[in-house]
């Protein structure tokens, strides 16, 4: 089925963004309201499409729109086209819904900033690019949106680029993303070389006859792309620094939507991964490593936003791992993505609200006892907290429990390992989130002198309240009657696999709840009493390494930055000595021989006359010799 309305989802925010940027200061007074209305209107379009989709029978739910013929070379055709199916509508609603809430929040949060209009222009640009990413019907169209969100992320991380370290953080994110984008472009090339097509439908038709090597290579390249965008191991180092951006950006881009694009990419490429078991195993491994890596970092962070960023990394690790389990896992990866979109965005907005009340202080060691002063923030934050650690019946419980269950159900020793890692992640998640909660809202006051914590204005707490409701209820709504699994089945599980049960569901659920209780209890014992205003320095080497983000930056510097600098130095030397040397040698040899030859020119007329005479005589002699 075709539709004419899909383009408006992308075009409206793009137009608004361009308008706000072109009008400049003239739009300062109404720019934020305009951008918010545009964002809300995309949500309305998305909701209308969603209800229209529900009304249609399952087979004809997806709608497409061809915009124009993009590339036409011989038999190779790429149309710029959009497709809205069961998978992309979930993303459209998440992006526009959470996006609109964060637009509303930003009106208040950024009200003291001179460049609020520019901020909203970038936010709208991000919405447009992200929607293009999830709506594109081929890898090339997806790539355009993929680069667009990367640009938006760069612009917004460096929004306060008058501070050099923020500008550096933006560059770091951009460079790490480029490494991932390289993977995506290679994947597109592999698709073109092996299938002669780049559209999802076109590739899917030809997957059956494809070689295992090509599929595995493409899968691994797509995984690299996902790792870059979703801050997965080994490209995870940028996410912590990305917290330099304004908090609404951290909530929207670096928690709820953009960083989950990697999960979307893998789920969308299910026809590749389902036929490439090696690549799938790599996906699971990357997911497990990152989910533990992020969780461990989260335990040691005192900066509230960086702790949440580490948590985001870890939660996306869960999603990546789940999407590596194939048809059994895709639906749960997307479900965790949606619930995570609610509770993590809510947590970040809560953190922003706390910062708003505490003069932009981010160090949790200088918080404490804020629950009494910020009742609404602490309640909405608390609901997000209960959701992320997975307390039933909050959202995170359903999605995470299902992922752990699927991990165990892969069977055998492998399944036990995967499941145990996921359970361990759940324990650590419960620990660091409880620690964060206790340090911020409870315990003794450790405020910086002059701090006067106060509740945030309505425009800020209203979005937080909506997201908190989502954190509480979305899990049940998505999972009741296996709604999400059935909804996504036409896209990710066409053959309706029967998934074997390795452990009974009730056992896994019990294990997950026990994991949460252990994590919470340990954190409670450790962070219950009075805390000092600065982090203790007499700590084990393990803690110190964790505070340094498990040496992720040191590893990058050692493996890439230093050798890169060395290589550059060698290249500069080579350029100076070999290439410039050759050029200079040519110049100086011409100059030297010219200096010698110049001696011939004396300037004396009689010399020239003599030479002419000699020349004439020689010519004459030669003529004579030739004739004789």
């Amino acid at each position: 089925m075709t539709s004419e309305n899909l383009i408006y989802l992308v075009a409206l925010p793009l137009f608004s963004s361009a308008l706000l940027m072109l009008l400049g200061r003239r739009a300062d007074r109404w720019g934020h309201v305009f951008a918010t209305l545009i964002s809300a209107s995309t949500f309305v379009i998305g909701a209308m499409e969603f209800f229209a989709m529900i009304d249609r029978p399952e087979a004809s739910r997806a709608v497409t729109q061809k915009l124009f013929t993009w590339i036409s070379v011989g038999t190779f055709n790429v149309d710029a086209g959009l497709v809205l199916d069961q998978l992309s509508i979930a993303f459209v609603l998440l992006i526009t819904g959470v996006g609109t809430l964060i637009h509303i929040y930003s009106i208040a949060y950024m009200s003291h900033d001179r460049d609020r209009r520019r901020f909203f222009a970038y936010l709208n640009f991000f919405i447009a690019a992200m929607l293009l990413l999830v709506l594109g019907d081929s890898y090339l169209n997806l790539y355009v949106g993929w680069e667009g969100v990367g640009l938006a992320s760069y612009l917004l991380i460096g929004f306060w680029n008058q501070q050099p370290e923020y500008a550096t953080a933006a560059k770091k994110a951009f460079v790490a993303n480029r490494a991932g984008d390289f993977g995506l472009s290679v994947a597109v090339m592999i698709a073109f070389a092996n299938f002669g097509a780049v559209s999802f439908v076109g590739i899917e038709e030809k997957v059956d006859g494809a070689s295992q090597t090509a599929l595995t290579a493409m899968g691994l390249m797509l995984l690299l792309a996902a790792a870059g965008k979703s801050a997965q191991f080994p490209l995870q180092a940028w996410l912590g620094d990305a917290m330099a951006g304004p908090t609404p950006v951290s909530a929207l881009i670096h928690a709820a939507t953009m960083v989950t694009a990697g999960v979307y990419l893998i789920t969308r490429s299910n026809f590749i991964f389902d036929n490439a078991p090696t690549a799938q195993l790599a996906v699971v491994m990357v997911g497990i490593i990152t989910l533990l890596f992020g969780a461990v970092i989260g335990m040691a962070k005192d900066d509230i936003k960086k702790a949440l960023a580490a948590s985001t990394m870890s939660q996306i690790g869960y999603m990546i791992m789940a999407s590596g389990f194939g048809p059994a896992g895709y639906a749960f990866a997307i479900m965790h993505l949606l619930t995570h979109g609610f509770f993590k965005a809510g947590l970040f907005l809560g953190a922003g609200s706390v910062m708003h009340g505490m003069n932009d202080e981010v160090n949790m060691r200088r918080y404490g006892g804020l629950a009494r002063f910020m009742p609404i923030t602490s309640i909405t934050f608390g609901l997000g907290y209960l959701a992320i650690i997975g307390v039933p019946p909050f959202a995170g419980f359903y999605s995470k429990d299902k992922i752990i269950e699927t991990a165990f159900n892969t069977g055998g020793l492998q399944g036990v390992l995967f499941g145990s890692a996921a359970l361990l992640g759940a324990v650590i998640t419960a620990f660091y989130m409880t620690r964060l909660m206790l340090m911020t809202f409870f315990g003794n006051k450790r405020w910086v002198s002059g701090a006067e914590p106060h509740e945030s204005p309505f425009l800020m707490w209203a979005p937080m309240a909506v997201l908190a409701l989502g954190s509480a209820a979305s899990g049940y709504l998505l999972y009741s009657g296996k709604a999400i699994v059935k909804w996504l089945a036409p896209v990710v599980d066409r053959d309706h696999h029967e998934h074997a049960e390795f452990l009974p569901a009730i056992v896994v659920t019990t294990l997950a709840v026990v994991a949460v209780i252990i994590g919470v209890a340990v954190a409670f014992i450790k962070y219950r009493g009075e805390l000092s205003e600065s982090a203790p320095s007499d700590v084990s080497i393990f803690t110190r390494v964790t505070r340094r983000d498990l040496l992720q930056d040191d590893a990058n510097e050692f493996l890439f930055m230093r050798p890169g600098q060395k290589l550059t130095q060698v290249l500069v030397k080579t350029d100076e000595s070999v290439i410039d040397g050759a050029v200079r040698a040519v110049g100086s040899s011409v100059l030297g021989s010219a200096r010698g030859m110049r001696k011939l020119q004396t300037g004396y007329v009689r010399n020239y006359a003599l030479l002419i005479l000699i020349g004439a005589l020689v010519a004459l002699l030669a003529a004579l010799v030739v004739t004789i």
């Binding site: 020119q601 004396t602 300037g603 004396y604 007329v605 006359a609 003599l610 005479l613």
Partner: protein, 99 residues
């Protein structure tokens, strides 16, 4: 008389002229030597015309005389101008190109 003798005379005159151009410094003398060489060539032309019994050599001699007349006008003008500016008619003094 054997016309070949005129050719010998022409060769001798030309050699004197050539040596004069190379060894003398005074621009006027150098100039006169050039004239001498031109006239030696003229003599050779006329002699060849006589030997071959046609007029082509004679015509060539007239051309040479016209060109020589023009050359004298331009050359003398240059020499006079140089002499006026530097009070010298030595060709070695006019060697600015080498500096």
């Amino acid at each position: 008389m054997n016309p070949t003798n005129y050719l010998y005379l022409s060769a001798i005159l030309f050699s004197i002229g050539a040596v004069g151009v190379v060894v003398r410094k005074n621009a006027i003398v150098v100039f006169m030597c050039i004239e001498l060489m031109l006239n030696a060539a003229n003599l050779a032309f006329v002699t060849f015309a006589k030997i071959n019994g046609n007029l082509e050599g004679q015509v060539m001699a007239f051309f040479t005389m016209v060109v020589a007349a023009c050359e004298v006008v331009v050359g003398l003008a240059i020499i006079v101008t140089i002499f006026r500016s530097r009070r010298s008619a030595s060709v070695d003094d006019a060697s600015l190109l080498s500096r």
